[in-house]
């Protein structure tokens, strides 16, 4: 069996699920999955793809080893919201969620890399990011507003770069919400 598999439209027309292995190459399967979501518009798919890639990359790099070795990704349109959910089990996720903050991107001269850009992207692309460590399952939910395909780029351009982060607790069973503004 391949490291990813897709179940589309089995239950609802506006929901699809993807099962991924915890591998760096899974990013390709996620991109293909998002591109195939025909219940979303092009700009909606682009926002999900950009933010989803960042979340998956962080999970694979920083939350490994994932117990069970896999990540379930679910995309759904629910009324006036679009939700992208990641379901997994990681012993380190609760600590990560507890330490969340609002760091500014910084240049790391030793590795010639910028750090922290991905989280800024997620906050600006999504309306909210909810980190939910759990006793049986860890979950991340990104919530997006619907967006028409407009040539001028749509409403996200007016959102600006001001951000606020709300960190509430961090032990298992608590929830941390990062809110784009």
């Amino acid at each position: 069996m391949s490291e990813s598999s897709m179940r589309r439209g089995a239950m609802r027309q506006s929901e699809a699920t993807l099962y991924l292995g915890a591998s760096p190459t899974s990013v390709f399967a996620l991109e293909e999955f998002v591109d195939s979501l025909d219940f979303l518009g092009r700009r909606e798919r682009e926002r999900l793809k950009l933010a989803g890639d960042e979340i998956l990359d962080n999970l694979v790099r920083h939350s490994a080893p994932l117990q069970g070795g896999g990540i379930t990704v679910r995309a759904a349109r629910r009324g006036d919201k679009i939700i992208l959910g990641f379901f997994f089990r990681s012993p380190g996720f609760a600590a990560f969620a507890a330490s969340c903050g609002d760091p500014l991107p910084l240049f790391d001269p030793n590795h010639r890399r910028w750090r922290g850009i991905g989280m800024v992207m997620c906050r600006n692309l999504a309306d909210s990011i909810n980190l939910r460590p759990g006793s049986l399952l860890d979950r991340i939910f990104l919530v997006f507003h619907p967006e028409r395909d407009e040539p001028d780029g749509g409403p996200w351009r007016q959102r600006g770069s001001a951000l606020r982060a709300k960190c509430a607790g961090g032990s298992r069973g608590s929830s941390t919400e990062l809110v784009g503004k």
């Binding site: 190459t25 990013v27 700009r43 991905g118």
Partner: protein
């Protein structure tokens, strides 16, 4: 699996990098290698019309390359970035740092 392709064309006044496919967390190292190599030696135009996604790792490469080019007194510009590239850059709040051109004559 969709592959990244980066082709470098050496012109007299600049290197033109033709990029197609995804610049993501898995492919960005190839992108980084070719961008940094060109920026170390020439003015650079990066054609991003056929880029299908741009991750934070790829944006970090562009930001570092822009800094390197500026420090060396060279120019770097993005040619015809795709809609998803523009969205990615705007989502960082750094999009105004990047010179964008629609035609090589603008360089």
């Amino acid at each position: 699996m969709t592959q990244l392709d980066v082709t470098v064309r050496r012109e007299d006044a600049y290197d033109l990098l033709l990029v197609s496919g995804p610049v993501n967390s898995y492919t960005f190292t190839e992108f980084q290698e070719k961008v940094f190599k060109s920026v170390a030696a020439a003015n650079v135009i990066i054609d991003m019309e056929k880029v299908t996604t741009l991750s934070s790792a790829g944006i970090g490469v562009l930001m570092a390359a822009l800094d390197d080019a500026g420090a060396a007194g060279r120019k770097l510009a993005l040619l015809r970035p795709s809609e998803i590239v523009k969205l990615a850059l705007d989502s960082t709040g750094f999009s105004e740092r990047f010179p964008v051109i629609q035609n090589i004559k603008e360089f």
